[in-house]
Symmetry: C2
Subunit: 117 residues, 2 copies
DNA sequence: GCTGGAAATCGACAGCCATCGATATACATA
DNA sequence: TATGTATATCGATGGCTGTCGATTTCCAGC
């Protein structure tokens, strides 16, 4: 995760000089921005975005063995992408025997979605 | 940009066997994923996400000199983030004299927003 | 036990990213 | 022309990312 930003004091400006209407600090709090940016970052790869798309369209849980052949990357690489999505809190997984099933965590995308709307 | 993903046959074919036409992801979907991932990646940094938040809340155009003091990063770093957002097609800028004004491109976030909904 | 398959992890590598200070560019004003 | 200011670009740096092949872990079935 990138370095967190902070509020800094406004710089002084010559009296009466004005380039535009004053701005106020973003409504989004820092931790909100950090959370949403984390989710956005997880979606910021075409493979991961398509993975989430597949998982969302399957209301249930999808076996990794069904996901791997859909993409032109190796199994370890896909596993890496799934881990990124898990670390970002977008998906979760469940093991049944040899197989692992992934699914989108309900409401994981809700905050970002609401902000974008 | 990361390596573009491809779609492969859904099932591994046995040697020489020909069971069916491979299932192919529509190209539209791949392009969509690439475009949306690019936008998501641009939003995948807390500073850039907060920048977009500020610009969106101000329906007009905001001077860079108002943005810089809001964040605890140097002016070159903020300029770099603004350039990232510009390259991703999220914002655009306009120069008036010494000052540069940034604004969110209308509907730039629409596709991603609709997909997330 | 042993063998085989599914998935995760490891180790390495090239490329990208966020950040800074220094510098360049462009414009305004004296 | 000379000076100052706003913004962009440059160059360097440490850290992160996506990718792979090889390996490991875990489980099922023999």
């Amino acid at each position: 995760m990138a370095v967190d930003f902070q509020l800094a004091p406004k710089r002084k400006r010559a009296a009466g000089e004005r380039c535009c209407e004053p701005v106020v600090y973003p409504d989004v709090q820092r931790d909100e921005a950090a959370r949403m940016a984390e989710v956005a970052k997880a979606l910021g790869d075409p493979i991961r975005l398509a993975l989430v798309d597949v998982l969302r369209k399957h209301a249930g849980k999808v076996c990794v063995c069904e996901l791997v052949p859909l993409f032109d990357v190796s199994q370890p690489t896909l596993s890496h992408h799934l881990k990124k999505l898990r670390d970002a809190g977008v998906v979760d997984s469940e093991r049944r025997g040899l197989w692992a099933y992934y699914y989108v965590i309900p409401h994981a995308l809700q905050e970002l979605s609401a902000w974008l709307t």
